[in-house]
Amino acid sequence: MTIADLWDQRISAFLLSPSQFLATTSTESFLAELLHELRNDKTNDQLKVTKTLLVSVLLEHPTILCPSASVGEETALELLSVFSHTPQKSIVLKCNVMLAITNVIICTSCLNTHTKTAEDWLDLLFQMIQDINDYRCGLSQQPIRATACDCLREMETCSPGLLSQKLEALYLLKQQETTVLHQSYCLLYTLGLKNAIRILTNQKDVTDLEFKSILGGNEGFAWKSNQLELTSLPINMLVQVPRLTQGLDCKDLKSIMSLLLEESYLLMPISQSALLRELVEVVAMVPGLSRTLFKSQLLRLFGTADVSLMHATLFMKDTFTDSLFTTEDENFLLKRLVGMAQHPLLRITEKLFYMECILHFPENRPISSSGEESLPVLVTPRLAAFLHPTVFNDSATMLCRLNLLCLVHLEANEGEADKGIGFLFDHIMALLKIVDNDGSREVVVTSLRALFIFLMHFSGMEELSEKLIDKLCDMYSRHSRLAPNLIGLADRIQEHPRPSLVGQVAKRLTIHNLSWHLKVLKRVAKEGQITQRNTIYLLLNVLINSNLCERGNWQVGNAVLAVYRNLLDHPSIDQVFIELADLLQYISIQYDDTDIKDHARIYYTLLTNLSWEKLTGVLAKRLDGGRAKEPAQSSSESVEATGEVRNWLEVYQGQFQTPGFGSEVTLRYNLTHAKETDPLFDKVFTICLHFEPKDSNYAKVTDIHVPCVFRDRKSPEVKVKLKPFQPYPTSLCVSAMFTTQDGRSWHSRLPDVSVSFPEIFLPLPLPPNSSRECREQVFERIWEATASGNSDKSAISLFCFKPEDKSLADLIKTHFQGYLITDQQSERSWKVLLFLPPKCHILLKITQAEDAAQVSIATDNRELLPFLNSNRWLNRCFAGVHLHRSF
């Protein structure tokens, strides 16, 4: 690999993620290497390209590579020497180095603190731009001069006023330059002029002499003027435009301005628009200058096809309003904007931009001056009709037009509005018809967005919204895959008391596509105003008349339970109480999945034993999958409470950065003789134990060597280190090679070693001296993360039992001693965390109620639940009796 390739790779790695790249090396050494390579004297084309690449790093990330002003200054100095040693003909490289020096000097505040390097660099730049019309250095060096102008302009932008005492010199240069570069000089001069005047507006009682002196300045750089931090904000962002005092003699300035305007035509459109904006700001700040200066340019600008020039014209309109634009001008400009917003030869993005400009059109007499969004009064329904959305528009254009038209018709007179709204309604219906015919994603999403925009504006028109909702329901009955879109829409229009969309949808549900329907029903169950009878009958029907219960799919069961979860705290639950109870009991008996059965049983118990108020209270606090708000609140509380306390979860998770951390389980065995063997084997030597995992859930186990095993001595301990990929119970085949006293080697198969589920448990891997508080915090954070349901792998489960012989505390001590996070016997609650390598957690919250104990289980690996449930491991732990039996 050549040096160039090597650098290519390193630079790509750096640009992809500077912080990650610099973690493998230090900033200083990387910077040193960069500069060293740049100083390399060898020149060939390949190296030039590499060097340009290296410079681009400094250009794009100066603050990362030069974290302090001193490093910045040193780097700038180094780059200066690189610049002076780079041969004349390496133009591109030289230009890049110039830009990099400028960027480093600005970004590391060398400029603001007026360092020697910054001063030298400015002097050098200014010297470079003196070579007008390339008399001295020739045409080939023109790009260097252009770059010098760009660098100076950048420094003036970041340190406004820097050039304010050099305006006469700059003016002369601008006048004398006749090559294409006069654009650069022109922009540089205008920026300097604008900033100088802006600074002068801060001063009270400016005299004619002071005013004139800025135009005639031919001194050094003005280092102290950077106290004006806000001067770089354009005037349309300021509450009040700063102004010079009245009555100053503006004759010279006026002729300068006229000349600049006259020559603006020679600039590139983008630069021209920048120049015009600067000139507008100057005229706005100097009362002695007439706005009519711009009159000569207006027609040319009104007709322009260039988006940046049109935009600059609107800026002019915004700044000068009726002092430059008559009512006719204003009407004309707005009509042109409407025309351009639908012009067949403009690009879509430009047209979208012009539509934004119509929405924010700067009127001479705006109704509200508060800056809040309101449609310009000049945008009448008649004018806007030209922007009516059609089904042939692309998505963005259609939505943009629809939004505009909705705004217009909201403001319009009744008669006119009704007709207009009717058209929009027809348009929405046409869109929905298309959705009905073709379900492509974009069509569906765009149509629902359009519907949303319409409903947001005309939610008061019940008849129309009802029709739309009817149509949606109708569509849903044919295309149930629209469920997520419709749920999203329902969520969004929630705040508006509309005839409930989801309720209507529920009436059309059928057995097909059950998983979508369950999602819709879950959402429907949140609607307090909808009675839930239909939902319950549908579910009853589905569960009894299908093989759903026999199939025992955990996910489907969970989705059904999620509907119930929302039904349980529905305000009109009493109307369907019996049916709901029947259903829950049916599931708790018939559903072929223990976890689902248990859940259903809990819901049943809660439903039949608690009043509605208590029930909602319990649901809000305890059970998983509750209202979205509750967990959010509690987590923000805990953040507040911990305040500046360290985030232990981060500390905990940080440990896993260390390769191999917490990835192993060590199992200890004794290696003993089988009961009866040939005396030949009483003493065996150099035993090599070989383990072979029976499944792919575990990494290969390294062989274990034992020096000797004698029948009459203590049997040696063997530590088997297991590295699970998935922490499931497993078993290992074991074989041994060994030597007997007579020197012969033997191979023997040993009984399989089975590894049970609890054997893989480890205590929470935190440093040994971690406080209880820290362990609790980690527990709670993991619990929150798991309960939030953000990950599709996490799961929450519930288990209830009635302790029989032993007390609950004893049971916990027996089974979970090493894994206890908290043990608050007085409050009858315990928290247990089981860590399973490589990084799985099972969290238990055990509480004892009057006659039963409840275990809430959270895990970040749903696959582990069967091992807790199916094997009834928890049952065995607690020798439990199920809740439904105890009630």
Partner: protein
């Protein structure tokens, strides 16, 4: 802080989080997933030229206003500088950098894709390789000064201009040396939606553009092009001109398509004085309302038992020259099985069944018959079992014919541009080349017996 007007990344950006978010936003990843909340939420405003990316999910940090242009596999994006407090979010038009960003991206698109819009992969690769140095030139320190020159536009016979007495325009890298040639090409495109129903009004309009290539000596030579209309010709509306046009008469701009009762009707001549750049450029463009469409058509499609019966009549307007470069009527059938037997007769030209068996192509050739009328009649059977293409609009009897034609050396509305309308103020005698053409664009004739989607305005 530096002043990065636009963050421009030319380095591999593929694996960054913002890139993934952008692709999600544009629907380019997970295209098969019907609903992705961050992308498909109905309340997300998807109607502005600026995209918003939420870097840390809802409520997190945002990247705004991200401007994007997508063309084929190419995504161009830039993030204009917001020179204002971020909250409350400033309106897009209050940010100077937005239009500059749009202009820069348009320029980059032209530079990378060239006039055809679809460059060969190796051509695109070489242009991409040149991008960093082009950006250095047009957008140093992230501040756009210029748009890159459109690909392939570097003119021959250009000498660099030494600093003379007259200032060289920044948009003209040198001066032309050699023969003086001015080429002016006027292209008019006509759009139409014809429904053949009294309840639905037919609509049509014309838009045109004048492309120029001027090889004229001098730093700032003066050239002018004048467009003239016949007596009673309808005025040119929504005229947009190239920035090189030096001055405009107010009356030229008055006509506007959104002005319904515009009686002031200035009808020319439209004079555009300008100083040309070296490359080919669009001098001006316009729209126009013409009294009649160049071709009137009717389309009747009826379902009969197991086939469709079609009847088409096309009529050429007398003002249009009856000499076409090409003329075809496409009759597609959607949401049907593939075509079986086709028993269709045409009075002129010939009929072809497309390979895909879902489209009839009626090639009318170079000329209409003397009567200026052509007809098609017959039945189409869909006996196949394989389903043809689908279309969400064209269900049931909703169907259309789309016309494709080009008439060279003729402009439908007689908007005239000829040798006499071009003036070049030059010492050498110029050679002037003018061409004009009329081309169809979005020209639909809907089945009058079915529902047609409403379009108030094209």
């Amino acid at each position: 802080m530096p002043n990065p007007w636009l963050e421009l990344s030319t380095w591999p950006f593929q694996r960054t989080a913002s890139y993934k978010l952008l692709l999600t936003e544009l629907g380019l990843v997970d295209a098969d997933k019907p609903y992705v909340e961050v992308r498909d939420d109905c309340a997300r405003q998807h109607r502005s030229p600026a995209v918003e990316l939420r870097l840390d999910g809802p409520g997190g940090r945002t990247l705004w206003p991200l401007l994007t242009f997508t063309q084929g596999a190419l995504i161009l994006a830039c993030l204009p500088l917001v020179e204002a407090p971020p909250e409350p979010r400033p309106p897009l038009p209050s940010l100077a950098s937005v239009s500059q960003g749009l202009a820069l991206l348009s320029g980059l698109q032209d530079f990378l894709c060239g006039p055809g819009g679809k460059p060969e992969p190796d051509v695109l690769a070489s242009r991409l390789a040149a991008l960093p140095s082009v950006l250095l030139q047009v957008c140093p320190l992230g501040r756009p000064l210029d748009t890159p020159p459109p690909a392939g536009s570097v003119p021959a016979a250009v000498a660099p201009s030494p600093g003379g007495a007259q200032k060289q325009p920044a948009w003209k890298a040198g001066v032309h040396r050699g023969r003086v040639v001015v080429s002016v090409a006027l292209t008019e495109k006509v759009r139409s939606m014809q429904y053949g129903k009294s309840s639905q009004q037919d609509i049509w309009d014309v838009y045109g553009m004048v492309m120029c290539k001027c090889e004229v000596e001098g730093v700032l030579p003066n050239v002018s092009v004048t467009l003239t209309l016949p007596p009673n010709g309808s005025p040119l509306q929504d005229i947009l001109v190239h920035p090189c046009v030096t001055s405009l008469d107010a009356s030229i701009l008055t006509a506007c398509s959104v002005d319904e009762n515009d009686c002031s009707a200035f009808s020319g001549p439209y004079k555009f004085p300008f100083s040309p750049p070296l490359e080919l450029f669009r001098l001006c463009s316009y729209t126009s309302q013409v009294p009649m469409p160049p071709i009137l058509g009717s389309y009747q499609l009826k379902a009969e038992e197991n086939h469709l019966k079609a009847n088409v009549v096309l009529k050429l307007h007398e003002s249009v020259k009856n000499s076409f470069e090409y003329y075809e009527a496409h009759i597609p059938f959607f949401n049907q099985n593939l075509m079986g037997s086709v028993e269709v007769k045409v009075s002129s030209g010939q009929l072809e069944v497309s390979k895909e068996k879902s489209l009839l192509v009626w090639v009318l050739g170079q000329k209409f018959p003397k009567s200026r009328e052509a007809a098609l009649e017959g039945t189409v059977h869909f006996s196949g079992t394989v389903a043809g293409p689908t279309d969400p609009l064209c269900t049931g009897l909703t169907a259309y014919i789309k016309l494709y034609f080009r008439v060279a050396d003729a402009v439908f509305r007689y908007c005239r541009v000829d040798q006499h309308s071009v003036q070049v103020y030059s010492s050498a005698k110029p050679r002037i080349v003018t061409t004009r053409e009329l081309v169809s664009s979005e020209y639909y004739i809907w089945n009058s017996t079915g529902d047609a989607p409403v379009s108030l305005k094209i």
